[in-house]
């Protein structure tokens, strides 16, 4: 301990003797680390497994059922129709399944009818949604079945925003002037990346405020705000006929998620889809080639082409930048050690062992690590701020948890060590006489 303090003191003195070169080395190193960290942060949030306990069992299913005799259309559409969902549901193979889309509405409470309504994000979905993605309930529970009902589940923040409390099960809310009863309040929950809906590259958006039943949405003509694809739809725009039209046409806007608990179940469900398509073809429907997709939740960004390519490109560049900075810093620290080489050699000539010099170097590394880490965090914050303002859809990805900070700190120590390793070896192991001469 005492030697450590002594060594730290020596390091500090040697910095003080030539502060500018040291500051520049540190600047370069932390600049590289900072840029790398800011990118790694985004990359981590964008590519992590948000639900590791069951990600292996969650799949999104799609059918290539669109009309039109297109023999080279193998890729199913990104969103599917109500008819598709009807056919893929109730197989008995899945342990949970839910169709869904996102929308929005203006909400207010009954007590506060005069207030200007505020916009809320909706997730239109089915009973199993909360089970599929392990969404925790604070109060109440999900709908008893998938039937239409004027009942909603709301997030904790929404409850607090509209009612200023969380025990609001049984309360009424107005959504786009329709009256709904709150039957459940969620605990704090978010999924980052929000893999259950990556369409429109919205995987970095927060979870929705209010959850309403799918059948209700179809009855009330609530539509997706992400993607509605109408193919060969013949409709006069009369709202009275919307529910019927949307349920029986290729008015595609749904995503359908299933939970399949084992590889055998996955196999079975794939077979189920195959048989389904055969039956459809036999009945004269499903004119396009079979193109069933059962994508695991961890592959979904790729499958839906929702990866943030700009971020990937930047990741590559940021890693190279780090390399440049590390190389640079080690070049500079080599220079610094060379400048002190005479002193090093003299100390060795005076009897310091290599180990003593090494421990001196370790003290150097420690000191640089602490300083570099602090500076790197500052640069990383600046970097995140810049990226957030330049690249759309990255704002939610900019936070750190303790674990990340720990990993980053370790990384800094490692890099600092690397940077000093060669110079240290060089100064403490090269032949003595050569250094003392001249």
């Amino acid at each position: 301990m005492e030697t450590l303090i002594h060594n730290l003191k020596l390091s500090w003195h040697s910095i003080q003797r030539a502060p500018l070169p040291y500051a520049l080395t540190l600047l370069i190193l932390s600049l590289g680390l900072g840029t790398f960290f800011s990118n790694a942060t985004l990359y981590y949030w964008m590519n992590r497994d948000p639900i590791p306990e069951k990600s292996q069992t969650l799949f999104m299913a799609r059918l290539n059922s669109l009309p039109g005799d297109c023999t080279d259309c193998f890729e199913p559409p990104r969103v599917i129709s109500y008819m598709d969902v009807q056919k893929m549901s109730g197989s008995g193979i899945t342990s949970a399944e839910a169709a869904m889309f996102s929308s929005n509405a203006y909400a207010k409470t009954l007590e506060n009818q005069q207030a200007t309504p505020s916009q809320v994000e909706l997730r239109v979905t089915q009973r199993d949604f909360f089970k599929l993605f392990n969404v925790p309930f604070l109060q109440g529970e999900t709908w008893p079945d998938n039937k239409a009902r004027m009942e909603v589940v709301i997030s904790k923040n929404t409850a607090i925003k509209f009612f200023s409390r969380t025990d609001v099960v049984g309360q009424d809310m107005l959504l786009d002037d329709k009256l709904y009863k709150v039957i459940g309040v969620l605990d704090d929950w978010s999924m980052l990346p929000r893999l259950y809906d990556v369409n429109g590259r919205r995987s970095a958006e927060p979870a929705e405020d209010i959850y309403i039943p799918l059948e209700t949405a179809y009855d009330l003509a609530i539509q997706s705000n992400t993607q509605n694809s109408f193919t060969d739809v013949d409709w006069d725009g009369n709202m009275a006929t919307y529910p019927q039209m949307a349920r029986t046409n290729f008015a595609n806007m749904l995503q359908f998620w299933v939970q399949l608990d084992s590889p055998e179940k996955v196999q079975q469900y794939q077979q189920f889809l195959k048989n389904l398509v055969q039956d459809e073809k036999a009945a004269g429907r499903h004119p396009r080639p079979e193109g069933n997709k059962l994508d695991n939740i961890l592959d979904i960004q790729k499958a839906m082409r929702a990866t943030n390519d700009q971020l990937d490109a930047f990741a590559l560049v940021a890693s190279l930048f780090l390399l440049v900075c590390v190389v640079n810093a080690s070049h500079l620290s080599l220079n610094r050690y060379m400048a002190n080489q005479y002193e090093f050699s003299l100390r060795r000539a005076l009897g310091a062992s290599r180990w003593q010099l090494q421990s001196q170097i370790m003290a150097d590394v420690l000191l640089s690590s602490v300083l570099a880490f602090a500076a790197a965090l500052v640069f990383a914050q600046l970097g995140l701020w810049t990226i957030n303002s330049l690249l759309p859809g990255t704002r939610a990805l900019a936070s750190w948890d303790w674990q990340m900070l720990g990993v980053m700190a370790l990384f800094v120590v490692l890099v600092s060590y690397l940077v000093t390793l060669y110079p240290a070896l060089k100064t403490s192991f090269s032949p003595l006489n050569q250094q003392l001469k001249q």
């Binding site: 080395t25 002037d177 990937d312 560049v317 440049v324 190389v327 640079n328 070049h331 400048a339 060669y422």
Partner: protein, 393 residues
């Protein structure tokens, strides 16, 4: 000093030199590719859109009450809003539309000639449901046939953009052809419609009511030259006064919509430009501190050379030519890095191939930076008297 001598002394400092070269090579590679991306982004943004960007304002609105989002109330509200907007001085025309041009994506219909669906089907073509003044607002030229008028409202008549008409009917006269979306009555000049549609310049225009406004709708305003800011200031209030139960988005000029469409590209290009700047800065710092660290050793060396008869200018040239040579060698490897990086980047994003002149230009830039950074310490080293420098310690 001769190139040969510099190389010899570089070779004696293998590790330092290798580090220096590696760093220079990667810097060059990165700067080249960043410049490339930046220029590609600029080209994307600067491409002709067929629209007079400065003279079109757009604003998204949505009635906050459900009743106002359905006919007949909806049409009544829209007419009230448009009438009010047209009163603003500087406004030449104003229309509603289901969507605006110059977007990433939006509402599309497939389109085909009714008797030749399989050969002519185009998957996603943006459609504009609007009113008569839409052509004036967008300022598109009539190529053939006629424009739509209020008489076409509700009738299944349709106007196509030139590129779409070409795609559907090739050299045939499109006027009178029957598509799944209506009979073609005219063709107008191309404008940038949706980036991710089947083709960015495909578009189809119909006249008709919106029916409902669950996703809101757009008001598009054409303003006189130089009036956009004046109109923009009043627009929100005028719309709100026409109908208070209204959620009103930000008023955007068309060039702002365009920047939004290419935001990812502009963002990445800016980011990489910043990073390139940093990288050049790092190269400069490195050259500077390299020279600075070596000042002691250099001073002695410079002193000896001066005593042996080298002039100040000559010594300065010596020091500089050492950094020039290392930069040039580093840049030589850099060209390899630059092509390698280009290939790897092309796997994730679209990036043009490296033109030959660009690495050369970057090399010049790099040389300039390095010279700038080496200059000062080199000058200082030459300034000290050779008598002092050659004195024994």
């Amino acid at each position: 000093m001769s190139v040969f001598l510099i190389i010899k002394s570089l070779l004696r400092r293998k590790v330092v030199t290798a580090l220096l070269l590696l760093q220079l090579a990667v810097t060059l590679g990165l700067v080249v590719n960043s410049l490339l991306l930046a220029s590609a982004a600029k080209e994307l943004v600067d491409q002709p859109t067929g629209l007079s960007l400065e003279q079109i304002l757009t604003v998204w609105v949505k009635p906050t009450s459900k009743a106002l989002r359905l006919e007949p109330a909806l049409s009544e509200v829209i007419n009230r809003q448009l009438a009010a907007v047209r009163q603003i001085s500087g406004v030449e025309a104003a229309v509603y539309a289901n969507q605006i041009p110059l977007r990433q994506g939006g509402s599309n219909w497939n389109i085909f000639e009714v008797d030749r669906q399989d050969e002519t089907n185009v998957d996603s073509v943006p459609y504009y449901n609007s009113s008569e003044q839409i052509f004036q607002v967008l300022d598109v030229r009539l190529i053939t046939g006629r424009l739509l008028t209020e008489l076409d409202r509700g009738a299944l008549n349709i106007v196509l953009t030139e590129k779409l008409a070409k795609q559907l009917f090739a050299e045939q006269n499109p006027v009178g052809k029957v598509t799944n979306n209506g009979t073609v009555v005219g063709v107008v000049s191309d404008f940038y419609s949706q980036r991710y549609a089947s083709h960015p310049f495909y578009g189809q225009i119909v006249l008709g009511p919106l029916h409902r406004a669950e996703q809101g709708y757009q008001l598009i305003v054409r303003v006189a030259q130089g009036q956009s800011e004046a109109v923009r200031k009043q627009l929100t209030d005028v719309i709100r006064n026409a109908e208070p139960q209204m959620d009103i988005g930000t008023v955007l000029r068309m060039d702002e919509n365009r920047d939004d469409v290419f935001r990812s590209e502009i963002g990445l290009a800016t980011l990489l430009a910043v990073l390139s700047g940093l990288m050049l800065l790092v190269a400069m710092i490195s050259a500077y501190s390299h020279a600075h660290f070596h000042a002691l050793q250099m001073q002695k060396e410079v002193g000896i050379k001066r005593a042996l008869g080298a002039s100040k200018a000559r010594v300065l040239l010596d020091v500089l030519s050492e950094s020039w040579l290392t930069t040039a060698i580093g840049a030589g490897f850099g060209i390899l890095v630059c092509y390698g990086l280009n290939i790897s980047l092309a796997k994730v994003i679209s990036i043009p191939a490296v033109p030959v002149w660009l690495p050369l230009l970057t090399l010049v830039l790099l040389l300039l930076c390095v010279t700038l950074a080496t200059w000062y310490p080199a000058r200082i080293a030459t300034r000290i008297s050779p008598a002092t420098a050659t004195k024994t310690l």
